[in-house]
Symmetry: C2
Subunit: 341 residues, 2 copies
């Protein structure tokens, strides 16, 4: 069972993945890296796999467990958290820990061996987004979970394995993550002072200034944020205020799928399919019950953050949480707006 | 002039290094990487350089600006922050920004072309630590600065350039960094509750348990922290409570230099000179004046964190601030204690 351990100073949780425990030699840079194209475990026409199917979206009239699926959600053979058991929170001297309970699911976005999400049809991306929604709503029913993180690691430099088959991941967590809490607190602080959502205000300013807007279409706006940490960092926000991604409508999914495909395609053209992560930022499950004057759900605004992995995170960033970005977001937005150098 | 921009939600500062502005092509992975050994700009017997000397520690009886130096502090030709000017804090609509005022200094640890700090003699490491102290005390006099981060990037995977000459960096900042604030707040929260320093309590527990102690010598203790984020993460703490590194005595510098050399050597032997960062964590300048009952300086404990760069930071870590560590710190400590597999 993996262990969740908490840093007593910074309140940062760490998953000690005991079942993945390695020896020093496994980390040596000289150790051979897996690079050759083994049979892809995510393809429709593959042999055996150790995956357990959780959800499959199929064409009409296809048989269960037969070819014809469009999107599939599976658990891998080495999930970072286990779904069976209780949290078993306990102290260890001055430290705190609990069992590594959670869920770790892989969303296989296409049965074909396609490497990159921007090569999928908009309808396929709609299916993927619909699956995110369905899985989040299902995991929310489990009272042990506080948050589901949906994210994508594209290429090895972004933390993916070397298997190039378009997929994303969901991890359900038994504690609201530090970074999500930080965002919620910041948004609440702004709301308490202004009675307005900080993301809505940001969108209003971006639309007026126009300098950092990349694309505005189908109910979604893509911007290069004012304080971009990374070159070509891009945020996609729904124009209409909404705290939970899981309440997205079918019509909105259509707009988001088109926006995502367009932004990823432009990024790909401009930066030669560089490694990237995207992360869905949404409100956690079961936020405190609102009182009469409560601001619940008025203060937070879900969005997607896309981070190209072009620069190295070094000692300075680790030590401070400051970032050094050599590309002003106004320039990045211009390049991405025009889709060329 | 670089710009400092603040994220309005997460209170995270970003340095937009306008003078380093690049075009998309500069980031393409296919662009040639600088790898050949050009004449090292940090060596004693080099040609011209664009460095400005700030401090030089010399052998006795050597001439200024002549060979014979032991450690040198310089500013580079493209510092990330400029030292001339005022902060000029200003709003930009709902956003906040200021001019990129600060100091960025490079500590050249040896005149010889030695790649790695663990190959230096203990006396050389003592000189380097003494220089850290001297520069921090000097920068503290500048009222514009709130914090100095001292860190090392060893090898390109840790964010260094490809020039392999042992060196470290100091960056003086006009705002106390988010990560430092988080640590100070966490330590204060513990002190308010317990009337004890959390780091001192941690040391007491580690010495009792013995499982995560790597080395205990010369007034310093090296541990694999309970909630290690990374395989072989190592913290070095002074056994005696102290908030400020800059108050370190000559005797303590001797102990720390020996400890640092020993830990870096063991790490090197075990992990084949893997890339790493180390970061000095110390209290910021001019903490609020103490009242009669104040806990000032009783709550925080300076230390050094060494982070080997063995695992990739992926979407999950970016999104949550959670980390996945495949190496239990008890195992890492055992390997580092024995210095072999």
């Amino acid at each position: 069972m993996p262990e969740l351990r908490k840093d007593p100073i910074i309140k940062r949780w760490v998953i000690i993945a005991t079942e993945r425990a390695k020896r020093p030699n496994d980390f040596k840079p000289s150790a051979p890296q897996f690079t050759k194209e083994e049979p892809c475990p995510f393809c429709e026409k593959k042999g055996k796999s150790n995956f357990t199917e959780i959800l499959t979206r199929k064409e009409n009239n296809t048989q269960p467990d037969k070819p014809g699926w469009k999107v599939k959600v599976v658990t891998g053979d080495s999930p970072v958290l286990h779904s069976e058991g209780d949290l078993d929170k306990k102290p260890h001297g001055i430290y705190d820990m609990m069992d590594g309970i959670g869920a770790h699911e892989i969303v296989i976005e296409t049965p074909e061996h396609i490497a990159s999400m921007d090569s999928l049809k908009p309808e396929q991306i709609e299916e993927v987004l619909g699956v995110y929604k369905e899985r989040i709503l299902d995991l929310e029913r489990d009272e042990r979970f506080k948050y589901v993180l949906v994210f994508k690691n594209h290429k090895t430099a972004a933390g993916s394995s070397s298997v190039m088959h378009s997929r994303s991941q969901l991890i359900a967590l038994p504690a609201c993550p530090k970074n999500v809490k930080g965002e919620l607190e910041g948004a609440k602080r702004y709301y308490d002072y202004k009675d307005r959502c900080v993301y809505c205000d940001m969108l209003a300013q971006e639309e007026k200034e126009k300098k950092r807007v990349i694309l505005d279409a189908g109910g979604f706006v893509a911007i290069a944020p004012f304080a971009s940490r990374f070159p070509f960092e891009t945020w996609i926000l729904p124009r209409k205020h909404a705290a939970y991604f899981s309440k997205i409508s079918s019509k909105e999914i259509k707009g988001l799928a088109k926006m995502l495909k367009e932004i990823l395609t432009r990024r790909n053209n401009l930066l030669s399919d560089v490694a990237y992560n995207y992360i869905l930022h949404t409100a956690p499950f079961r936020r405190p019950k609102p009182g009469y004057w409560s601001t619940i759900d008025c203060d937070y605004h879900w969005h997607i953050e896309i981070i190209p992995r072009l620069t190295q995170v070094a000692g300075f960033e680790w030590g401070t949480g400051f970032y050094i970005n050599p590309m002003p977001p106004e320039d990045a937005a211009k390049f991405l707006r025009e889709g060329k150098e």
